[in-house]
Amino acid sequence: MRDERVEAKREAASLDEPATEARDLAERLGLEPYPVRYWVVDHDEMNELIAYGGFQRRYPHWRWGMNYERQRKKDRHGLGKAFEIVNNDDPSHAFLQESNAPADQKAVITHVEAHADFFANNRWFGLYADRGEGGPNAAARLERNADRIAAIADRSGVDRDVVERLIDAVSALEDTIDQHSPVDAARSVEGPGIAEDVSDADGDALAAIEDRIADLDLTEEVRRDVFDDEWLEARGEGVEPEEPRPDVLAFLRDHGKRYDPDSGKAVDREPWETTVIDALREEAYYFAGQKQTKVLNEGWATYWESVMMGGEGFAGPDEFLTYADHMSRVLGSPGLNPYKLGFELWTHVELRAARRDVIDRLLRVEGVTPENFHSEIDLDEVANALEPHPAIAGAGPATLDELVDLAADGDPRVDAEAVDRALSARDGERPATDGDGETAPDAGPDVERYPWKLLTREGLAERHYVLSRPEHRSALRNVSRETLAERARYMFDVDRYATVEEALDDVNRAAGWDRMLEVRESHNDVTFIDAFLTDEFVREGNYFTYEYSRATEQHRVASVDADDVRKKLLLRFTNFGKPTVVVLDGNFRNRGELLLGHRYNGVALDEAAAKETLKRVFELWGRPVNLATVRVEYSEEALRRAKRRGTEPEGEEVGVRFQYDGGEVTEHDLDPEIRERIAADEIDYDTKPDDWLA
């Protein structure tokens, strides 16, 4: 990166303070981010970084050139200026656009800190990142892949076009991995330390592997445990997985061959080919974490950005408008926007957890039952009681004396040490401990600009308590009797509090944030939406599903039912929004053919794309390849009848097998037994009502 440029350097220096302070604030709020390195780049460098997926170097491929051209065009037309790009690595690298206004830079830094927390703590990122000492080490790994593949392409014996073609083929399958398992779950031929891509003279892969294992100098025990006969056997020919294998790329890497057009036969791959496949598969796992947590991660970053920027005035008063405008543009972009959906869902998680905490306490007040909850309890009083302490809410130079008093009482909401230093600085006292006078007077924390330095997480939680935000003040009133009854069912110690006041004293203002931290650790987009997209959320957001109507040749609103909306959203996020394709058989028809199965869930494949993809699979298998799927066929009669009645035609689901052997893609009837195996009946994603458009 050209950080020696004067402009960029100046900008970067001016960001040191916001970066340090944002980190302090983020940690005070309970986040635990990876360290972040900030870089300032001009828009062209930014376009390049975006083209490369957030990294400075990738393996040579035309696709990056295409991404760059696209991004540059967008940039030029002012569509989608990128404020920043951050990669999930330890440390994370965040690249900020030089031209961002100061308020934008601050907003972006707070956003990035939250992303870095997410990277470090979300388990789906862990699938790639948790590989022992080295951590994710993503930039280094990707750079190493870049070097290796570039070196392979430069070899005299290797045709550059052949390398590119191989990359094309693997890239077409980058989403057919097992993203729910760690990257190393499917052991590679390489094994530890066998990354060399040199050609083996003797050509016997199995023997070569055994030699290499011997070279590893492992104890016999470990050797038997890790590289057992079965494992070795699996490197051989004609593998029939008993269970369908979702990691299609790993299967092809381990058992695929190369089709040799001269002999018309499958031949063993050159070791460099396996190296390329393995490198790209590994990168697919890196990006899988991002892809399956888009809503969650962007929503998370947006949420904390709004707390820090808006709630804590991280933007100065003069910058606030710019920031507000920035935020409204991020959230206001049309369509199903991951920032917005995520932000709303996270707020919803927070609100529900906080509300539940309060309800649970109130239901334990003597005499309160789900039935009389709304009449027995004065909810206005509750709302007032939940208002933050004035000194906490208005923490800053003006309330310093009050905070000193609270600190003296050992109030956990106040950072006693910071308050003390602030007080000393204000009153011009030197720190009492330094008698020799050599230490410069402590300026104390800048509580004017960063009042949050006076508070602990508990204090901050009270300051930002969701139930006292104006837009959520009616949340308690709106809680339904059913919800109350349900909560009450799980309660054992029902009569703990004598009065409402007593109950409210116990309220945990951090309940929302605590819950959010838990959720950010374990969820991905699918589980997040499944768990937290409530009926209430769908109703309030006016969400609906749409389907294509054959009768009208248009997309039409199909359903406003929350279950349907959730289902449709899940379709979009499950398996990256792509159909699930698995390996069913590596020795299909006893001829060494590959059989892939599309787990049919009611939504058919794009057949043209599937056929093209199948051709890429052939390049990695070297022998004929098959894809089993189901499609919906409409008979002439059904179409006619539907037309007459003005309804949607009824289709028939038919199993079909596509086969490709290097010539043309051919179509065959699907064996009913295989049809059975590819059915994924758990959810039907079709949300068309029965009497739709009738």
Partner: protein, 458 residues
């Protein structure tokens, strides 16, 4: 290394996999392109992947200001998922070329060979100081030239004085005899000079000039004495003086270089009457749009004017041009009248002009023969073309194309093409664009110049 290489490779890959140009023109989506950017879809330059059928998948939307009702039509939002880092974007890419590249490619693909002519003088620049004039600042005086001219003059007036004096010594020769002899010899001497020389000789010898006899006759003199050419004498004696005269002054000044711009005005004319339905309109667009790109690419500057007509004609913007449909009848001459008016702003000696008209050949009564054809003849243009768009063949009463062809088919600046389906489009384009090319750029140009030189018709 790195991005530069990846970008180059992308361009190569895009070029390899883009739609064939003829295919694109006949069937492709022309809508993605602008006047200065031709966007040709690339066949799955993006990598294929297993994906859902977009229709089957449906989606989720968010109602604006209220609950949506099932059955209500919606526009799915295609851009929903795009635009985030680390993600691949949309499904297909475009190979972009500028009109220049488009024109080159089309030349190659269709075997066209159109050489645009420079017309309007856009610039007069000062070249080298190679031109001269009789007046100018002293500093630009061409001294060499001045001296040469002086010298030439000197040589022209110089003669061998001794030789001429010998003429006076011929027996019995007087001044007139000597003068006649000298002039006969081509000696640039005046009679006055000889008379003067005779007077001097008489003074020296004290006798009449006739008495100074050294030679029997002029013939003897010629035989005995060799005349010395002036050049020899100058070489021998040196140049005493060169007569400088004002009329020999030449002043250098720079040569004027005219840069002629290859500029073109294209008037696209389209029948918008009731009979021009969707498919016909689309065919017109398919023929005209690539021709516009082509000419934009071929010429340095291109202007486009768009005229639609039914029984009357009016000018529209490009955006409206292909879409308009009016209800009225048809009178094609109305359009040519407007074309003539428009072209007044583009004098033919300054502009290349193309008039492309399209319609379904239906025209009112005898409008074609009585009005349109004379108008076409009277409007100077590199090329007049008529494109008949008649899906399923021409109707019996639609005679415009035939009549134009009968009357002007032999002219090398008139082309008639017929298009009944998208597959005919490239042939029509070839037919039209090769007409002028075949006519030979030079001859057509020459003819045009003669015509304009011969006097403006309007």
């Amino acid at each position: 290394m790195g991005l530069t290489e990846d970008r180059e490779r992308f361009r190569e890959v895009g070029e390899e996999r883009r739609e064939d140009l003829s295919e694109f023109i006949s069937h492709g989506d022309l809508g993605g392109s602008g006047p200065d950017r031709v966007r040709i879809p690339v066949k799955i330059v993006d990598l294929p992947e297993f994906e859902y059928d977009r229709r089957e998948a449906g989606g989720v939307g968010q109602g604006q200001g209220g609950q949506s009702q099932p059955g209500q039509p919606v526009e799915p939002e295609p851009g929903d998922e795009e635009g985030d880092p680390g993600e691949e974007g949309g499904k297909h890419e475009y190979y972009e070329m500028d009109p220049e590249e488009f024109a080159r490619e089309l030349d190659e693909e269709l075997g066209l060979d159109l050489e645009p002519k420079g017309k309007r003088v856009v610039e007069e620049t000062e070249g080298d100081f190679t031109d001269t004039a009789r007046s100018g600042p002293r500093g630009t005086l061409d001294v060499d030239e001045f001296f040469k001219r002086g010298l030439k003059r000197h040589l022209a007036t110089d003669f061998d004085e001794a030789y001429v004096r010998e003429g006076l010594r011929v027996a019995g020769a007087d001044v007139d005899d000597a003068f006649a002899w000298a002039r006969d010899q081509g000696i640039p001497v005046s009679r006055a000079w000889i008379a003067d020389a005779a007077a001097t000789a008489v003074d020296e010898h004290g006798g009449p000039v006739e008495a100074l006899d050294r030679w029997e006759s002029f013939d003897e003199l010629d035989e005995e004495v060799d005349r010395e050419p002036a050049t020899h004498r100058i070489r021998r004696e040196g140049l005493d003086s060169v007569p400088f005269r004002r009329e020999d002054e030449r002043f250098r000044h720079p040569e004027v270089i005219e840069k002629r711009e290859r500029n073109v005005v294209v008037v696209n004319v389209r029948d918008a009457s009731g009979s021009m339905r969707e498919t016909k309109r689309e065919l017109v667009e398919r023929v005209f749009t690539p021709m516009d790109w082509y000419l934009t690419g071929k010429y340095d500057a291109a202007e486009f004017r768009y005229v639609v007509h039914d029984a009357e004609a009016w000018e529209v913007d490009r955006e409206e041009f292909f879409g308009i449909q009016s209800g009225g009848g048809t009178k094609i001459s109305s359009a040519y009248e407007l074309v003539a008016e428009i072209l007044e702003a583009y004098p033919y000696d300054e502009w290349n002009r193309y008039v492309f008209a399209a319609g379904d050949s239906e025209n009112a009564g005898r409008d074609t023969t009585e009005s349109v054809i004379p108008l076409m003849e009277s409007i100077d243009a590199n090329l007049h073309a008529y494109v008949e768009t008649q899906p399923g063949g021409a109707a019996a009463n639609a005679r415009h194309a035939d009549e134009v062809e009968d009357a002007l088919g032999d002219a090398d600046d008139v082309a008639v093409a017929r298009v009944s389906e998208p597959d005919d489009v490239t042939d029509a384009i070839y037919e039209i664009l090769s007409t002028e090319a075949e006519g030979g750029g030079a001859t057509a140009g020459e003819a045009a110049r003669e015509r304009t030189d011969g006097g403006e018709r309007r």
